[in-house]
């Protein structure tokens, strides 16, 4: 008989606030250690936390996008444990009364992944161990996080990864979180158990602190295999917390149930209960934009894009926004989609290109729309458009001006074209004979010669072909 996996995720996402959750310190990645700190986030004696309004706003925006029910009142609790990068000796989190509950999201298969809750909490600092020293950086201490906890609704590593991708997309779309995993803005703990189909749940194991989609997948697969093997051998699975080692692709014991910490939760007396007024929540709901799944469906249904292209375009909100603007300005959604999925996204991956995201490009949607218009007008061909876009990556300027500057405009002057064609025909009797014999395709071999004669000026290949055929006919 086979085994089935039961998986639940706890995902920490960093809210995209300007300042920390309980003080005015700036939130910024990569600043020199301990430069974004104050008496509050370094837990100086006497300092007190004051909750950040923007964090609540972003947290509620995320909750609404995930169809959660926002509580009219929530509260912060203190969670105690001892570690050198936890300045107060406790983390301020929401334990008994989180700001929202329920909700969830639907996978492509139609499977619903339910959320138990989402709560707000502060991040701890970062510790680096160097020889006999532990170096503590508190820049991250107090950064706002939302922790979303799913029901054990997932059944495979692939489903878990799909859920994560969908969650990330929604959080990015709503602007609640940047979800940059390389900056630690999205971190995941996984709960895994296995059972025979139809059985009650068996003992679960928690795997902590996974920070890549790949790690999540590998850790789950390894853990399913490990537990299955234990049961198959007649053994049992212990309730424990494990850490994933990405180097070796295995999970390792972190602590057993008997070592589970007692966090001594209690309501934080420094922070009165927080009221989330229903009118305010409704205002945020009314401002909620279209979510990625809806966008994707619309691109296929009303713009006629392929599901693949629609998926590529909606994977990041900034790309989709760029696409929509280009499509609107050019009135050519398919062309816009083509140029963006091919030239723009490829260009962004080019290590020589400075821009890392579509927002950082030195040109905007109206520029791309102009490129599309130039093609429509017959001023340039697709090769010219490609060259033009490549140029736009590195140099400023309006596409119309660049076309001239770069000599991309197709030469329409018939007398010059004829001159170049005649030059190309010289000494090409064999080709001429072939054409006359009915092999009109043979004329293609001459196009390169025409371009050479044009000395870098752009010509329309079809036009050149037609003229060559006409001239060959006239030669008689």
């Amino acid at each position: 008989m086979s085994w089935e996996a039961v998986i639940g995720l706890e995902v920490h996402a960093q809210l995209a606030t300007r300042s920390k959750l309980f003080c005015a310190c700036e939130v910024r990645f990569g600043a020199p250690p301990n430069t974004l700190v104050c008496p509050v986030c370094t837990a100086q004696p006497g300092a007190l936390p004051v909750a950040n309004r923007e964090a609540f706003e972003l947290a509620v925006v995320a909750a609404l996008a995930l169809e959660c029910e926002v509580a009219p009142e929530c509260r912060f609790d203190r969670k105690h444990y001892v570690y050198c990068d936890l300045p107060k000796g406790f983390q301020i989190t929401q334990y008994e009364r989180p700001y929202c509950s329920g909700g969830g999201l639907t996978l492509a298969s139609g499977k619903r992944v339910r959320l138990v809750r989402i709560h707000l909490e502060e991040d701890a600092g970062k510790t680096a161990h160097e020889g006999p020293y532990s170096l503590v950086d508190l820049n991250r201490a107090g950064v706002p996080l939302i922790e979303s906890v799913t029901e054990p609704d997932l059944a495979s590593a692939a489903e878990a990864q799909e859920y994560l991708a969908a969650l990330k997309e929604i959080l990015q779309y709503t602007g609640a979180s940047g979800c940059d995993m390389e900056k630690g803005e999205l971190r995941c703990d996984v709960n895994v158990s296995v059972r025979r189909p139809g059985e009650a749940l068996r003992t679960k194991v928690e795997i902590k602190n996974l920070n890549s989609f790949k790690g999540v997948g590998l850790a789950i697969e390894h853990e399913i295999a490990r537990q299955t093997a234990l049961y198959e051998a007649g053994g049992t699975v212990a309730q424990e917390t494990r850490l994933f080692d990405p180097e070796r692709g295995v999970t390792e014991l972190m602590r057993g149930k008997e070592d589970a910490e007692d966090y001594r939760y209690f309501p934080d007396p420094d922070l009165p209960p927080h009221t989330l007024a229903p009118e305010w929540v409704e205002r945020l709901r009314s401002r909620q934009g279209e979510l990625p799944a809806a966008r994707r469906a619309r691109y296929v249904r009303t713009l006629g894009l392929s599901p693949y292209d629609a998926g590529v375009l909606t994977a990041e909100r900034s790309v989709a926004d760029f696409f929509e603007a280009t499509a609107r300005l050019s009135r050519r959604p398919k062309e816009a989609a083509n140029w963006i999925t091919n030239e723009l996204l490829r260009g962004l991956n080019d290590p020589a290109v400075e821009a890392g995201s579509i927002d950082e490009l030195p040109f905007r949607a109206h520029d791309l729309a102009e490129v599309i218009a130039l093609v429509e007008e017959g001023r340039i061909d697709s090769n010219g458009a490609r060259a033009l876009i490549a140029a736009l990556f590195t140099r400023p300027g309006r596409p119309r001006d660049l076309v001239r500057e770069l000599g991309l405009e197709l030469v329409r002057d018939a007398s010059r074209l004829e001159q170049w064609c005649r030059a190309a025909l010289e000494g090409q009797e064999a080709v001429v004979a072939d054409v006359r014999a009915g092999k009109t395709k043979a004329v293609g071999a001459l196009i390169g010669r025409v371009k050479k004669a044009a000395d870098g000026m752009a010509v329309d290949a079809r036009e050149v072909q037609a003229m060559l055929l006409r001239l060959i006919e006239e030669l008689e």
Partner: protein
């Protein structure tokens, strides 16, 4: 009530230019140094800072700038209030040598009002005590009898005021830590409504109870201090969004006609015999002013100590978790590991009472016990609040003694439970967040010496002005309830 000027009188003299702030301060500093041996109120004096400040104030006045309501008044601060650049060790070795990197909200308000910060006073470690004896750095002696306690935990602040060294001091009151020492030292102390004064920069003991609280030799000085200290502070989420309270009126109310004051009979049982007689005399004095005495039911107050020692220790154990040797304060290496360093630092540097309270607080929050202890205490606290609310439906203020008796001998209450019982009359108002004031309430004799007693008045939350008004009327009507301490008398005649 005393030959030494109170803060208001001193401020008027200085603002009028009858004396310079610098010269007045220089005398204050001399007195403090001279009395160090027999009172021992200060953990640190800041003569340079204070003199610099005094000169600055003198210059400002000479330049025609307006004088603040505490212009030139020297103020002593309990050593758990942060002043940027100064020690605030809270009576604990765990913060020895630490200098606050910022100033408390209350301290900023004092400075904005023109006060001169004189120094930090001794206290029971983190506020854990009722006698001052739990300080790692020094135990003040009572200016009425050097063999006796000043009370605690704001021991040094009460001693400094009672000895006539300063007219005004700040303490903090969590379960009576200002009212009890005020009573035992024969001065006045006000615990404002919880949240009336910002806690930002007050090193936390019990966050839901802590109140920055002034001590003074006159009730009008408490009124003055509250008008300076109170007001909203965006850095303390529990600070009430209320405008600052009114400065003192020129004259004390002559009558208290129509005022109903409540006495809970159950609380009288705690009083020592002669203290009971003094209490009755004080009530009679209120009646003589036209107030009406009523008996109120407050039987839940009997459980107040039990509630308090669960809630306060739970919060304290959490608040003290930050003292781990990582970021500030001294550090002990232990076995060299991180956990070992933290364990050694805490184990070696916290005093016995701090350790006891951390253990108690940790226990009552333990998973599996939390609801039985912390949960029950919270529910009982709500019921006590409700009983106070019912009582205030029948009376305007509640009156009790501040303590069961006068100052006890240093070393007398070695049993922690006996010490905890010193707070039996002050803890109820703390749990309910009420404004409560202790003013001098007559004297009893012990070992041939007169020792002061305190009378405690409390009112519904936010009605700080009410207790101040009643206290001021009583203070004016019965000046014999208060006297300068022998040390203050010596100062006044010097």
């Amino acid at each position: 009530m005393t030959a030494l000027p109170d803060a208001l009188a001193l401020r008027q003299r200085l603002a009028a230019g009858e004396a310079s702030v610098e010269a007045t301060l220089a005398r204050t500093l001399q007195r403090c140094a001279a009395r160090e041996g027999d009172v021992g109120a200060f953990a640190a004096l800041w003569p340079e800072r204070a003199l610099e400040r005094a000169r600055e104030l003198d210059r400002a006045r000479a330049a025609g700038e307006p004088c603040g309501p505490l212009f030139g008044v020297p103020v002593a601060l309990k050593s758990n209030l942060c002043v940027a650049g100064e020690v605030a060790h809270c009576g604990s070795r765990v913060l020895e040598g630490w200098r606050a990197p910022y100033s408390a909200g209350a301290v900023e308000r004092l400075l904005a009002a023109g006060a001169v910060l004189l120094g930090a006073t001794h206290m029971d470690e983190f506020g854990f005590g009722s006698s001052g004896e739990n300080s790692a750095f020094g135990v003040p002696r009572n200016p009425w009898d050097g063999a006796r306690t000043c009370g605690g935990s704001s021991s040094g602040s009460a001693a400094a005021v009672a000895a006539g060294l300063v007219p005004l001091a700040l303490g903090s009151d969590t379960g009576g830590s200002v009212r009890q020492p005020a009573a035992l030292c024969g001065v006045a102390g006000l615990k404002p409504t919880y949240g009336r004064v910002s806690r930002y920069g007050l090193v936390a003991f019990g966050s839901s109870l802590d109140c920055v609280s002034p001590l003074a030799r006159s009730v009008r000085d408490l009124e003055l201090a509250l008008s300076v200290l109170s007001g909203a502070d965006g850095r303390d989420a529990t600070c009430l969004e209320l405008p600052p309270s009114e400065p003192p009126a020129a004259a004390a109310p002559a009558r208290l006609d129509g005022l109903r004051f409540g006495v809970a009979e159950a609380q009288l049982a705690a009083l020592e015999g002669d203290a009971r007689a003094r209490f009755d005399a004080a009530c009679a004095a209120l009646e003589a002013l036209g107030a009406e005495r009523r008996t109120v039911e407050l039987d839940l107050a009997e459980h107040a100590l039990a509630i308090y020692y669960v809630v306060a220790t739970a919060e304290a154990s959490s608040n003290l978790a930050r003292f781990d040797g990582v970021r500030y304060g001294p550090r002990r290496a232990g076995d060299g590991s991180l956990q070992g360093m933290v364990a050694a630092t805490r184990g070696e540097l916290f005093g016995a009472e701090a350790v006891r309270r951390i253990l108690l607080g940790t226990y009552v929050l333990e998973s599996g016990y939390r609801d039985a202890w912390y949960g029950t205490a919270q529910r009982a606290r709500e019921r006590l609040r409700a009983q106070f609310a019912r009582a205030f439906g029948e009376v305007d203020v509640l009156v009790s003694a501040t303590t069961p008796g006068p100052a006890f001998r240093l070393g007398e209450r070695a049993d922690p439970l006996a010490m905890y019982r010193s707070d039996v009359l002050t803890v109820p108002a703390s749990l309910a967040g009420l404004p409560a004031l202790s003013l001098p309430g007559g004297f009893v004799e012990r070992d041939g010496r007169a020792l002061p007693l305190g009378l405690q008045l409390s009112a519904p939350a936010r009605e700080d002005a009410r207790v101040l008004r009643v206290a001021r009327a009583l203070e004016a009507a019965r000046p014999e309830f208060a006297r300068p301490s022998p040390v203050a008398l010596a100062e006044a005649s010097a």
